[in-house]
């Protein structure tokens, strides 16, 4: 490939993409600290390290497009446009949270933004995404002849669930405009993909076996993700083509969940990943190297993102707590 298409993005688009990634990074790094104080309840799975995938995918999408996320969903939510403070308040369990404190980290959703929910059940998202894709198919192409798409984010853990296979097959036979985005961070919980993924750490080949066109790319390089997904999207938006899949090779910088002692990591592994596989560092090197943005430009974004997170945390601490009677609300619309 010659000049990367992503590198053709204008200043504003590049700045926005960087800001989105940085926002996710700061969001997760801050949660990692806060969770250790015990102030935040429950299980939290951090997306740190995989930011380029969520942002590289979602920067292409409109609100008409849907995504279904995973238990490691904060990055997808932020990238798809969920409100930072609403998310932070939700993780804090506030009544003012995006889900009124009913969902927490694993169930953040914003239907209006096309974010159909993080999911606590590994592998449960893909069938839902296919349903949303079938809806897109019914709605038909827009004035430009393009279909809205639905994206199922899955990891190397979910790729072993039967639901994911059922969903891929259903999407193929119904030609649903669904995109299966596999983020292979090489660990399903505490087990390596070398052991758990039978197809020799190659998830995309599974989608290929269902008859889908597939792509593979480096998930730690925003431009690689952005460019590859652009091709995937162009294919799936075209009526009649049906679904496609893409596998991104990526890394997670924290444990499966917060509190995971990560004894499965190799000696110096995390330091090495942070040094060589950090999507933010790579982005900075590329854009400053190509003189598209300066370090000062990016530093300003860093400061801004940090400020946004500081404010979100402060707001979350001060936000209203749910009342016991709220437990009965939101089960049904009418009953």
């Amino acid at each position: 490939m010659g000049e990367e298409a992503g590198m053709q993005l204008n200043r504003e688009a590049l700045t926005r993409a960087y800001r989105q990634m940085k926002l996710i990074r700061e969001f997760e790094e801050r949660l990692h600290e806060e969770i250790q104080t015990g102030e935040i309840a429950g299980f939290t799975h951090l997306y740190c390290g995989q930011e380029a995938v969520a942002v590289g995918v979602c920067e292409h999408l409109s609100e008409r497009d849907k995504i279904v996320s995973t238990h490691r969903g904060h990055g997808h939510c932020l990238a798809k446009g969920c409100d930072v403070t609403g998310m932070m308040k939700e993780i804090w369990g506030s009544q003012e949270g995006l889900c009124n404190g009913k969902g927490g980290s694993m169930h953040i959703a914003d239907i209006d933004k096309g974010m159909l929910g993080a999911n606590g059940i590994v592998g449960a998202g893909a069938p839902i995404a296919v349903g949303a894709a079938l809806s897109n198919k019914i709605d038909g192409p827009d004035e430009n002849g393009k279909l809205a798409v639905s994206i199922a984010f899955s990891g190397d853990g979910a790729c072993n669930q039967g639901t994911t296979f059922e969903a891929m097959n259903l999407a193929v036979v119904t030609k649903a405009p669904a995109i299966f985005v596999f983020e292979n961070n090489h660990y399903s919980e505490h087990t390596g993909d070398a052991y758990a993924v039978g197809t020799a750490q190659d998830i995309a080949s599974r989608a290929e076996a269902f008859g889908m066109k597939v792509w593979r790319a480096d998930g730690t390089d925003f431009f690689s993700v952005y460019d590859t997904f652009g091709e995937v999207l162009e294919f799936v938006r075209t009526p009649g083509n049906g679904p496609a899949a893409v596998e991104f090779d990526t890394e997670r910088f924290f444990g499966h969940f917060e509190g995971d002692p990560q004894r499965y990591r190799g000696e110096g592994e995390l330091d090495r990943l942070r040094a060589t596989r950090d999507c933010l560092r790579k982005f900075r090197e590329k854009v400053t190297g190509a003189k598209l943005l300066t370090d000062a430009d990016l530093d300003a974004v860093d400061t801004d993102a940090l400020g946004t997170i500081e404010q979100a945390v402060a707001d979350s601490r001060a936000a209203a707590r749910p009342q016991p009677e709220n437990v009965l609300e939101n089960v049904y619309i009418s009953y």
């Binding site: 889900c99 169930h107 959703a109 239907i111 069938p127 839902i128 969903a167 089960v331």
Partner: protein, 337 residues
């Protein structure tokens, strides 16, 4: 009014709703039937004949014939509903709930709550259920106890063609997810069905199928007919029974049950499911709790035994409740002193 079969009431209602509302979508295994075969689409038209002609009328986008993938069907119904459609999914046999329980129980039922009331999931899950066809342990079960216990789902058990029509129309138009339990043995039942294309029966309103002041019989689905037969038999001996057809088990018309028991003081519950942690025990608990002061006799439950559904005719007959078992239970409550 038109006389029609229960299955035709279901088919006709879905058809009318699909005509009325382009958001209504049907999906399931063999709902078209014959896809990818020499016979071509509609070669079968659904094994229960509840979607015959849909494919021709509405096309493949809205009549989605799926592979045998219940999790995908259930999940896709959830996704379609979240995305603004009104899917009517068919799980060919309710027993298959086992392979797609997660998508129903952890996903569809919980979306609205988990998302803080900010999502709408108007999915209808049709599940042909129940025994009577010697289909044995994996194709005959009553699953009302599972789905009724799940917060977030509404559960419908129509006992007549008219109710199948009015309740299904309500289910499709309802904004909450609904599990619609059609009893396989009732498909051939005929009855008058209102012609009104907007005929709906609101949920949570039980039907008084027989009236009497001696004993209350609570039933749902196919058990309603058994209860009616038993009540008619008992009427010959001067025993008057209130037969309450629940229509929906979630929401439950508590008032209908309690009001009747407050008059009769005697309660017989008929439930096709096994006896533990079931609709029968649920209603018994309700009455023991809220109408204890009115009871004149222990609550009787006529249920299947704590066994899987057997195959042989004799065994299935022994397994199922029957009008005679219901009548015996009524007499037992009357004999208590």
């Amino acid at each position: 009014m038109a006389k029609m079969m229960y299955r035709d009431a279901i088919r006709g209602t879905i058809f009318q709703e699909m005509q009325r509302d382009p958001r209504v979508v049907v999906l399931g295994e063999d709902v078209v039937g014959g896809m990818g075969t020499a016979g071509g689409p509609e070669a079968i038209g659904g094994i229960w004949s509840t979607s015959t002609g849909f494919y021709e009328a509405f096309g493949p986008d809205r009549v989605i014939d799926t592979p045998i993938s219940e999790s995908a069907i259930m999940g896709a119904a959830g996704g379609l509903a979240l995305a603004g459609k009104r899917p009517v999914a068919e799980i060919m046999f309710a027993d298959f709930i086992g392979v797609c329980m997660d998508q129903l129980w952890n996903q569809i039922a919980k979306f609205r709550y988990m998302f803080g009331g900010k999502s709408v999931c108007p999915a209808v899950i049709r599940m042909p259920c129940g025994a009577g066809y010697n289909a044995a342990a994996q194709h005959s079960q009553m699953i009302s106890q599972f789905v009724t216990s799940m917060p977030g789902l509404k559960v419908v058990m129509p006992a007549t063609p008219a109710d199948a029509c009015g309740l299904l129309r309500q289910a499709i138009r309802d904004d909450d997810p609904v599990v619609f339990l059609e009893h396989k043995f009732l498909y051939a039942m005929t009855g008058e069905v209102p012609d009104d294309p907007d005929f709906v029966i609101p949920f949570g309103h039980a039907r008084l199928a027989r009236a009497g002041e001696d004993v209350t019989i609570v039933a749902s689905g196919m058990m309603v007919g058994y209860a009616e037969t038993a009540a008619d038999d008992l009427a010959q001996d001067g025993v008057g029974c209130d037969v309450i057809d629940l229509r929906t088990t979630s929401p439950l018309d508590e008032e209908a049950i309690l009001d009747s028991v407050e008059v009769t003081g005697r309660l017989v519950i008929v439930d096709e499911a096994p006896p533990r942690c079931s609709l029968a025990t649920d209603i018994a608990a309700l009455v023991a709790n809220k109408a204890f002061a009115s009871l004149k006799a222990p609550i009787e439950m006529v249920t299947a035994p704590h066994t899987p559904v057997p195959f042989a005719r004799e065994l299935e007959g022994a397994y199922l409740p029957s009008p005679a078992k219901v009548a015996a239970a009524v007499r037992k409550t009357l004999a208590y002193r």
